[in-house]
Amino acid sequence: MSRKPQPSLSTYHPAQLLVPVIWVVLLALAVVAMPATEAVFRWLAPDARQVIYQRADFITLLGRHLFVVGVAALFTVSVGLLAGVAVTRQWGRDFLPLATQVASMGQTFPPVAVLALAVPALGFGTLPIIVALVLYGLLPIVRNTIAGLKDVDLATISSARGMGMTDGQILRQVELPLAAPVILAGVRTSITINIATAALGSTVGASNLGDPIIAGIINTNMAYVVQGALVIALLALSVDSFFEVLQRRLRSHTA
């Protein structure tokens, strides 16, 4: 066991939440106050007939975006965790090499290509997007669940068993808590990628925050593009910074 200089333990400062809260406030502001900023965007697109994206208001678009990403995340996290746990149990060991290999190859498949391949198979609309996001988002979670569980010190598990813990207790009370930081990192990667990929979904018939960008590019209306891009970027940064805080809190316990 190596003893590293110890970080201060579990010091939870409300100040840590400051960064995500700032991003969320900015996001909320951008979504609600967008119609009021016409003057600014007029300057960006002086010739356009409209400068604020009107086909749907930004609150609805944000809601749809969050819905798609959220539903996908629900599936990816539950299925990914189950799969990761299953292949690291004695009875699922057969599947471990393949699962590890495939999950680590996941990052090689470009999200666009995955999305594009999903459409011929599943058709246009929201459902195919969700399916594509689930399939793609699964891989980082499975990979990190496997890595996290494999990283748990064998001596710890052995002593847990020696103390008379059942397999279920070992999994719930020892393995999963110890693997949690790594698993959470996987969830973070998965959701961050999915927020970006969902935006591309508006090219395959799902309506969400990608819409204004696509519409803006097609109509060469810079104002639309910037509005869409701004809101997606703020959404991604908000979610990501929340995960950052969560991870820091988890890490502070185990060094």
């Binding site: 666009v112 290509a113 927020i195 590019i217 997606i232 991604a236």
Partner: protein, 401 residues
């Protein structure tokens, strides 16, 4: 005395332990062969085709042959002992299946596509895709069990790919994908060139830039925190958003600064694409360069100094060679990421293979989407495997030295 033991006894007697992975894959393949449409036939490019099950597409004999190969593999996999020979035979069965598949398409084309209708086309059905996917998974599984070198696997896949391409080029004129390709052959090669050019330029620029930044960070410690935070920040911003956000200032630049316009800087096109690609590529390069240089063991550096090496000698002759594999790992990540992101760049008019994807999606022409997506996938996998192999080679060299 018999022991009624709750724990699994690892006795002297080998138990029945089939390879559940291959059995599961085999079952799924059989289900796909008989349960999903094998091919689809459409009268022209736009209408959606009608699917045909395996007994109509490949005749009962064809379906039976495929099932037989799959069953043979499953029987081998359920053999009580896991021998190398059995795995080799299973591997061969998978390869045979993949090699026979294009010939099945030929048969289907012969039976189902009306030769008098030049517009009629044959689409590869879900059963084909699923079986192909599962067979590849099976090959990966067997490769791991046989611990085959990646190089052999790559050669084998290239071989299988060549058979497919050969069949497609020579005999599969009615295949929708082939027709789509023939219509825009020149465009296709042009797109591949553009795609590769964008990726190469972006990655090379970011290698030079990224290594410079990493070296600066090592020298000026204060840069480090802020630098990584900034690069992380950009990596978090979704690609579509970053491309979008770059459009506006560049459009303004080209409208208001004549010199920029002369340089070819435009809001739409390759400029924002390249800038965004470089920004995204910087993080993995900088991070890996930094980590690689930091990771060299202090003992080794100490020894180098003790032997009388100058700082610069130590850097170039010790640090850099030892850091190279990790550095290449960064290049690999960057390359794969850039290949995918360049596809998105097609949305802002940068060209490349992404253009096929988005045009295809716009026209609901799925084969055109495939024409864009498949090469991107192949390129990403090839870059991943190629650079990965190079890094492994370097690592092995380092281990011997």
């Amino acid at each position: 005395m018999p022991l009624k033991d709750a724990l699994p006894t690892q006795g002297r007697f080998s138990q029945w332990r089939p390879n559940w992975v291959i059995l599961t894959l085999g079952l799924a393949m059989l289900a796909a062969v008989w349960g999903l449409p094998t091919v689809s036939v459409a009268a022209n490019r736009i209408v959606s085709g009608t699917g045909y099950p395996v007994w109509q597409a490949l005749s009962w004999g064809g379906g039976a042959l495929a099932s037989l190969i799959i069953l043979a593999m499953m029987v081998l996999a359920s053999h009580p002992e896991r021998t190398r020979l059995s795995y080799v035979a299973q591997f061969a069965a998978m390869v045979l299946l993949l090699l026979l598949m294009p010939f099945g398409l030929m048969a289907a084309s012969h039976w189902l596509v009306d030769a008098s209708q030049p517009q009629a086309r044959l689409g590869i059905g879900p059963a084909y895709w699923v079986v192909m996917f599962l067979a590849l998974l099976g090959l990966i599984e067997l490769r791991l069990r046989l611990s085959l070198a990646r190089g052999w696997m790559a050669l084998l896949l290239i071989g299988i790919g060549a058979v497919w391409l050969g069949c497609a080029a020579l005999w599969l004129d009615s295949l929708a994908l082939v027709q789509e390709f023939q219509v825009r052959e020149a465009q296709f090669y042009q797109a591949i060139r553009q795609h590769l050019a964008l990726v190469t330029i972006a990655v090379s620029v970011s290698i030079v830039l990224g290594m410079g930044i990493a070296l600066l960070m090592r020298r000026f410690y204060r840069l480090q925190r802020g630098g990584f935070a900034l690069l992380n920040f950009f990596q978090t911003v979704p690609s579509l958003a970053l491309f979008g956000l770059l459009l506006a200032p560049l459009a303004w630049l080209s409208a208001n600064v004549p010199f920029a316009a002369q340089l070819g800087i435009k809001g739409i096109g390759w400029t924002p694409a390249l800038i965004a690609l470089i920004i995204y590529s910087l993080l993995p390069i900088v991070r890996n360069t930094y980590v690689a240089l930091e990771a060299v063991s202090p003992d080794v550096l100490d020894a180098a100094t003790g032997m009388g090496m100058r700082t610069s000698q130590r850097f170039w002759q010790v640090r850099v060679p030892l850091a190279l594999p990790i550095l290449l790992e960064g290049v690999r990540i960057t390359m794969v990421q850039a290949i995918g992101l360049t596809a998105v760049a097609a949305l802002i008019g940068a060209g490349g293979l992404g253009a096929f994807i988005f045009q295809g999606l716009g026209q609901a022409a799925m084969d055109m989407v495939l024409l864009g997506a498949l090469p991107i996938l192949v390129m990403a996998l090839a870059a991943d495997a190629g650079i990965g192999a190079l890094a492994a080679q370097l690592r092995r060299g380092a281990a011997y030295d």
